[in-house]
């Protein structure tokens, strides 16, 4: 799906990416949505729809890897009073989709999971998902804070940064996440006619027959 709007990731620098109409080499366009093939049928050519369906039906990670991704995702974005957790929003499936769509993620994530399991085996004699929650947090604390992580943990830091990025964008681009963050999108104005107090001021009223016909909104 290399097309559509030029995309620059939201780093500290957030350049006004949408402003760049001019040609800039070596940038890839990316537009990714998660969901079922039916949901993706909007604005897709048959070829695109075929590829989307293949990606969604496809599976890259094994069960153990999916379980590890789900555990990490919920540590990164847990449920709180405002919205559900990363897995509630379907983040593990989203990450599986992304690595099929963008294969450059495959090795770093698969390798990162192995690295994590190995570290946990050494410390706790169990792989990451088999550890207790406290042990998992102890391990995550070693790799979740890039500026204070120990040098020997840098591999894990790189992995966790990827997991944090993909979990966040998977979560906040889901319906649950979009509602959480309050993205409104473009909405048409609604005009309900002359306000009642103004009508009262001039002793006027709407014609009730026309009111039903012309001043009516579905939402």
């Amino acid at each position: 799906m290399d097309r559509r709007e030029y995309l620059k990731t939201l780093t500290a620098g957030t350049l006004g990416a949408g402003l760049l109409f001019q040609c800039q080499p070596e940038k890839k366009d990316t537009n990714v949505t998660s969901g079922t093939p039916n949901e993706l049928s909007y604005d897709r050519t048959p070829e695109e729809l075929k590829r989307d369906s293949e990606l969604i039906a496809g599976r890259f990670f094994n069960d153990h890897e999916m379980k590890t991704i789900a555990t990490l995702a919920d540590i990164i974005i847990p449920a709180d009073e405002k919205s559900g957790s990363a897995t509630d929003a379907g983040v593990p499936d989203f990450i599986n989709f992304i690595v099929l769509d963008m294969p450059h993620y495959q090795t770093p994530i698969r390798g990162g999971i192995r690295w994590l399991d190995l570290q946990c085996m050494r410390r706790f004699n169990a792989d990451f998902v088999s550890c207790t929650h406290e042990q998992q947090i102890e391990m995550v604390d070693e790799i979740a804070w890039p500026e204070k992580a120990r040098p020997e943990m840098q591999q894990g830091v790189a992995f966790f940064n990827i997991m944090r990025d993909l979990t966040a964008c998977g979560f906040f681009s889901s319906q649950m996440g979009i509602e959480d963050i309050g993205y409104m999108g473009n909405r048409p104005n609604q005009w309900d006619g002359v306000p009642q107090d103004v009508l009262d001021q001039y002793g006027l009223s709407h014609d009730p027959r026309l009111l039903d016909l012309y001043v009516k909104y579905d939402t």
């Binding site: 780093t11 001019q22 906040f172």
Partner: protein, 202 residues
């Protein structure tokens, strides 16, 4: 505010350790959990960016020529470009930077990126050719010795050749060239019809 999509929230570890959060205090960069989740909400829509585009002025010593030693994969010689920024472009970039800073300060914002540009890197001006539209090389002009086409996009050397793409541009405008190409083409077409009727060109 952008609709959250792929790339949303990437690199939050470069952001959430640098600036005070909701409670006015800085915290450790990166992290996870409820506090991180709230950071995404807190920083969403809080960033603002500007990128500048200016006009590269027409300069005779900026030119391209056929490279005598390099060919492409079809064996066709490639172009070799000689292009340098003049003071004019560098001053435009400096002016843009200063204006951006003023705007951001007036908005009550804090500059997080790009403020370090200065004379040593031409105020962030990109290398020539980095962000471009491909225009020029068959430049328009009245003097056949110094230009390829006349003001009707007609070649000085050959009356029935018209160049109606971006070639006749003498400078790199700060805007997309398509509308100007269309306008020039329309003028060239009208001229062509007129000249054919007068049997000046065949």
């Amino acid at each position: 505010m952008r609709m959250p999509g792929y790339g949303f929230g990437f690199g939050i570890q470069n952001l959430n350790g640098k600036f005070p959060g909701r409670n006015g205090e800085k915290k450790e960069a990166g992290g996870y959990g409820a506090s991180l989740k709230d950071d995404y909400r807190y920083f969403y829509g809080a960033t603002f960016g500007l990128a500048g585009r200016g006009e590269a002025i027409a300069r005779e010593d900026n030119y391209c020529e056929i490279d005598p030693t390099t060919v492409d994969k079809y064996g066709i010689p490639v172009l070799r470009f000689h292009y340098k920024w003049s003071d004019h472009e560098i001053k435009q970039a400096r002016h843009m930077k200063e204006t951006f800073k003023e705007i951001i300060h007036a908005m009550g914002g804090e500059i997080t990126y790009g403020a370090e540009d200065g004379p040593e890197n031409n105020y962030g001006l990109e290398t020539p050719g980095r962000i471009i539209h491909e225009v020029g090389t068959t430049r328009m002009g009245n003097d056949p010795k110094r230009s390829v086409v006349n003001s009707y996009n007609q070649a000085h050397d050959c009356k029935n050749v018209f160049v109606v793409d971006g070639g006749p541009f003498v400078s790199q405008a700060d805007k997309n060239p398509t509308w100007t190409i269309l306008a020039l083409s329309m003028r060239a077409s009208e001229y062509m019809i007129d000249q054919i009727k007068k049997q000046n060109i065949t």
